[in-house]
Each structure stands twice: as C-alpha cells, then as structure tokens.
C-alpha cells in the first residue's frame, strides 16, 4: 500500500457555509442604513437576540427532534442570573453572563439527565414544568427578583465603557449612539450563533444528532449513545437561550417575569416551526416574521396567543417542513 496515490481533486467536499454566512453578514451590515430611528433599532436588536435563541432551539427541535416547551425559563435564568450576579456579588457584566450561562448549563443537564434516555415526549412535559416553576419563582421571590414589578439591570460595560442605549460613543472618530452600539452587539451575537450552529450541524456530533432524529435505531447501531447526545444538544440550546437572555437584560436595563412566561416559550417554538425545522436561516426569517406581525396588529395584543396557535396550526397543516424548506424545495423542483 506504499504506492503514491495521485492527488486528484476530491469528488466529495463538505458543503461550503461561507455563501450563506456572507449573505447574513451583508444583511446585518446593511440594515443600519435602512433604520430610520431608534424604534427600528430596538426592533432589530430584539429580533437578532430572539433569532439567536431560536437558532439554538432549532438545534434541539429541528435537528435532534426533541421538543422543549420551557426555553423561556433558560432565557429568563440567563437574564435574571446575570443581573443578580452583578447586583448582589458585584461581578462585572461579562463574567456574570458567562457564569449565568454555566449555571443554566448545569440546570439543563440536571433536568435533562433523568429524562432524555426515555423515548417519547417526556422532555416536553419536563420543560413545560420547568418553565412554569421558573415563572412562579421569579414572581414570588420578590425581595430578590423584584417579583411582578421587574428588576432593574445594570448596563453592560465593555473595556471600561458603560454601554447604555442612551449614551453616545465614538467609534474611530465616528459618533454613534448607544442603540447603534447595541445593534452591533446583537448582530454579532446572531452571527456567531449561526456560525456555531452551522459548525455543529456539519460535524460528527451534528450528524449523530440528525441521525437520531432520522432513525434512532440506526444511530444506536452505529454506536451513538442517543440519550447522551440528546442531553448535550439540550444543554447547548439552553446556553444559547441563557446568553441571549443576559444580553437582553443588559440592553433593556429592566426585566420582568414576562420573559419566563409560557407564552414566551411557545413563541420560540412557533418561530422554529414557522421558519423551518432543521433550517438555520429559516428560523431567522421565522423570527423576523413573528416579531414583526405584532407591529401591525397593535391593539390586538391580547390575541397574541391565539395568533401563535393559528400560525402553528396553519404551518403544520400546509407546510410541515416550515416556510424556508418548503419554498426552497419548490424552487429546486422548478429548477430541475
């Protein structure tokens, strides 16, 4: 076997992920030029942070096929955790955020460990319960969390600069507002979320996850300890939610128990289902759509839950793969 094999260009290459990432980067860079006022920025920041959570949740739901109905709990744990670590223990915001994410990882591991080796929808039930408990704890522990009145959060500080939305800053001689800085942070967070998710999906770990969704028996026979892998992706997706929650708290400067609500968990699941399960870019589009709809329906806010339910039903009936995969498939058919 010592003869030299002629080096020919391989007929099998990994699918390149840079075209998609470039498009995403360009869109994220162009958007500020289209934003007219701070309200637009506010909306874009919230969309970017929520999309980051959805990209993480999609790893669990879309790729590994496990449903979590309590991701708002991890989001809230990240937001409250980092806020309280800064307030109570005088940590600086970035280490507080990392520490909160580590705590959430442990929490997710503890919740997932006994459940994820079982078959069926036990994870949905457990996360549903976790979400409800988180909301109750935040509401009732009012001497610590401020209860229903909410909790003020110290602003993020980076390199000795406090980054408040109301501040004005100087970036290489260009005067920018605090909101613009925050847009940069949120956009950067989303970009990294997508990059890491794409890396993960296209790794042996990601293949094992997708395989256990496709055929759990096949995955097992190939040597995948399916329970362990489900647990890992559950923890990863919880950390995504926690980091986004921390950023949301620092950005808004004020958090309420609403972010831990069941409605919020359902909103996140609806985004993943709408945008397209197992489609990273799809869930970004799902987030944009779902967060923009209420802007056109102000005055019907109490109908939000009805709307989510209706969207879930319509998507499940007419395009169970979700928006982006369905459209992509149609284009492929027309092309061939």
């Amino acid at each position: 076997m010592s003869e030299a094999i002629p080096q020919s260009p391989s007929r099998v290459r990994a699918t390149a992920k840079w075209p998609g990432l470039t498009v995403l980067a360009v869109v994220l860079l162009v958007l500020p030029f289209l934003a007219g006022n701070d309200y637009h920025y506010d909306l874009m920041i919230k969309i970017a942070l929520t999309a980051g959570v959805a990209v993480g949740l999609n790893l669990l739901v879309g790729y590994a096929g496990q449903i979590s109905l309590g991701h708002a709990a991890f989001y809230a744990a990240g937001a409250y955790g980092s806020a309280l670590l800064v307030q109570q223990f005088e940590l600086t915001p970035v280490p507080a955020m990392v520490l909160a994410a580590a705590g959430v990882a442990v929490l997710a591991w503890l919740v997932g460990k006994p459940i994820l080796h079982l078959k069926g929808h036990y994870l949905s039930m457990a996360t549903l319960g976790l979400g409800v408990i988180a909301a109750i704890v935040i509401n009732n522990e009012d001497q610590l969390t401020g209860g229903p009145d909410g909790l003020p959060v110290a602003p993020l500080s980076l390199f000795g600069h406090e980054l408040s939305v109301f501040g004005s800053y100087d970036l290489f001689g260009v005067a920018i507002t605090g909101t613009q800085v925050w847009y940069g942070i949120a956009a950067g967070f989303l970009f990294l979320s997508v990059l890491f998710a794409l890396n993960l999906i296209d790794s042996p770990l990601g293949r094992a996850l997708r395989a256990l969704h496709g055929s759990e028996i096949a995955a097992q026979v190939a040597g995948v300890d399916t329970g362990k892998f489900k647990l890992r992706v559950f923890v990863i997706s919880a950390v995504y939610a926690s980091l986004a929650g921390s950023l949301y708290g620092y950005y808004g400067g004020f958090i309420t128990p609403n972010i831990a609500s069941f409605t919020h968990s359902i909103e996140l699941i609806t985004i993943v289902v709408l945008g397209g399960m197992a489609s990273t870019y799809g869930v970004i589009l799902g987030t944009v759509i779902l967060l923009l709809i209420p802007q056109f329906l102000t005055g019907f806010q109490e109908l939000e839950m009805v709307l989510f339910g209706a969207i879930l039903m319509v998507v499940m009936i007419f395009m169970p793969r979700g928006l982006v995969p369905t459209i992509a498939r149609r284009f492929q058919k027309e092309a061939s």
Binding site: A14, D202, S203, R207, A211, A222, D225
Partner: protein
C-alpha cells in the same frame, strides 16, 4: 477453532411464546454463516437478541469471548459488531453519504467545543471520513448516489447503503438481515458479489435470508431454525441432504428445485 460469535442456550419468550428456545451455535472467524428458516422461525428475533435490541430470557451471547449480556445497542459497534435491518433504518433527513459517515461515528471525535469551533483537526478528519465513505459506497455498488439525498434513492440502493454504513464502522462481524428481500435477480447477484468481497476482507458475515439460491451458493455454514429451535446445522451440501430440513423447510418440490439449481 476460533469462534468469533458464540450463542449458548439462548432463549427469548414473548408472554409464553418461545420465539427462540435453547439455541446454541458458533460462528467462526472469517466465515459466511447463514441462518435460514420459515417465516416466524425466530431469525430476526435472534438478530435482535445478538445486537442488544432485545434482552434474552435465558442463555448468553459471547463476542470474541466477551459476554454481550446487558449491553445497550450503541455499545456493540465499539465491540466490532454491526448490522443491517430487514425493514430499512435509513436516516431520510440526511444525504446518502452522511448516512454512511454516521457509520464511522465511533472513529471520530465529537467534542462539543471542537464541533462548535470546527477546529482544523476535526475538519481534516471529517474530510478523510467523507472520502473513505464515498469509497465504501463504490464498494457496495451505489457510488452513483454519492451526491444524492437518501430520500431520493431507490429501494435496492438503500439496502446497499445500509451495508455501506455498517461497513463504515469497520466491524469484525457484520449481521445482514434479509439483504436480498425486495431485490430482483440481477440485484441479488450483485449483492452476492458484495457479500463475497466483504468476507474476502476478513469480515465475518452472519446472513439471515430467504433467498435459497443466494444462501446455498455463498455460505460456509448454514443454520436452520424452525419454531425458534435449531433444526440442523452444516455446510450447504449437508443441509440440502438433511431429511429433516427437506421435510420441514424445503418440503415442497418447487423449493427443492430452487435449492439445487
């Protein structure tokens, strides 16, 4: 004699029904060992017992001298055992090549951080895996589907894809559950070549199959099951000549002709 797989007094009951009963046999290294028997004889149950999908009611299975009792299905690939399924277990949400690459799972690093950052070492290993798996697809004869999605492949090719995936784990012993079911004559002949070449690589093959022509032409040893018990065991010639087998299994004229064809 080197018995790679040894099954000892194995039994499995499903609520009073003895699907497999007091079954003992040994599979020697590098051989093609076929298991035949009428429908419901317990062939697939036997496979599921060996591969840990079922836990036996009694008896034991040893691979390379190690007991497989209490092993989870995912622990068998690292011990060198892989299998295919009578009803395909293909991940239809992945490409054909990714399905084969799944087979190499146990040979690849899966660290969370290496995966998130896609470090160069992981990237190189994955590219190498991709090329090896493409070669395996050529080896089993479905190389033309390398760029296809699994859901776009015909049935016959999916059966081969499953064999490629099992081979990707570089097993010592490969269990094939009715690989020829649903294949036409030409496809079955091609499959025979594939199984031969697998055995030539030194991989022990255990084959459950209904296609007598295939079994008789390829096997070193044949085990005949009937109602979960061993009816006969021997070389294809011995099995053909065994009166019990002829009575119980090859009883009608048509089958006998096929077997001697």
């Amino acid at each position: 004699m080197t018995a790679l797989l040894s099954v000892d007094k194995l039994g499995k009951e499903f609520g009073g029904v003895h699907a497999v009963e007091d079954l003992s046999f040994q599979v020697e290294k590098g051989r093609i060992h076929s298991i035949i028997g009428p429908n419901g004889a317990g062939k697939t149950t036997l496979f599921n017992l060996i591969t840990g999908l079922y836990q036996p009611s009694s008896g034991s299975v040893h691979l390379n001298g190690r007991s497989l009792a209490g092993h989870q299905p995912h622990e068998l690939a690292p011990l060198g055992m892989c299998r295919t399924f009578q009803n395909l277990q293909i991940c239809m949400n992945m490409t054909a090549l990714e399905n084969v690459m799944l087979g190499r799972h146990r040979h690849l690093k899966q660290g969370t951080f290496t995966s998130l950052f896609k470090l160069p070492a992981l990237r190189r290993a994955d590219q190498q895996c991709r090329e090896e798996c493409a070669e395996l697809m050529d080896f089993v004869g479905c190389g033309q589907y390398i760029k296809h999605h699994a859901s776009a492949m015909p049935y016959g090719a999916l059966k081969r894809l499953e064999i490629a995936r099992a081979l990707a784990a570089s097993p010592d012993i490969l269990l094939l559950d009715e690989p020829a079911a649903g294949l036409n004559r030409t496809e079955t002949d091609a499959l025979r070549d594939v199984i031969r070449r697998i055995a030539d690589k030194g991989i022990t093959v255990v084959l459950v199959e209904h296609d007598m022509k295939l079994v008789m032409s390829i096997s070193d040893q044949v085990l005949v099951l009937c109602y979960g018990r061993k009816l006969a065991e021997g070389t294809p010639e011995e099995i053909r000549a065994n009166p019990d087998v002829i009575d119980a299994y090859l009883g009608n004229r048509h089958s006998r002709e096929e077997a001697t064809a």
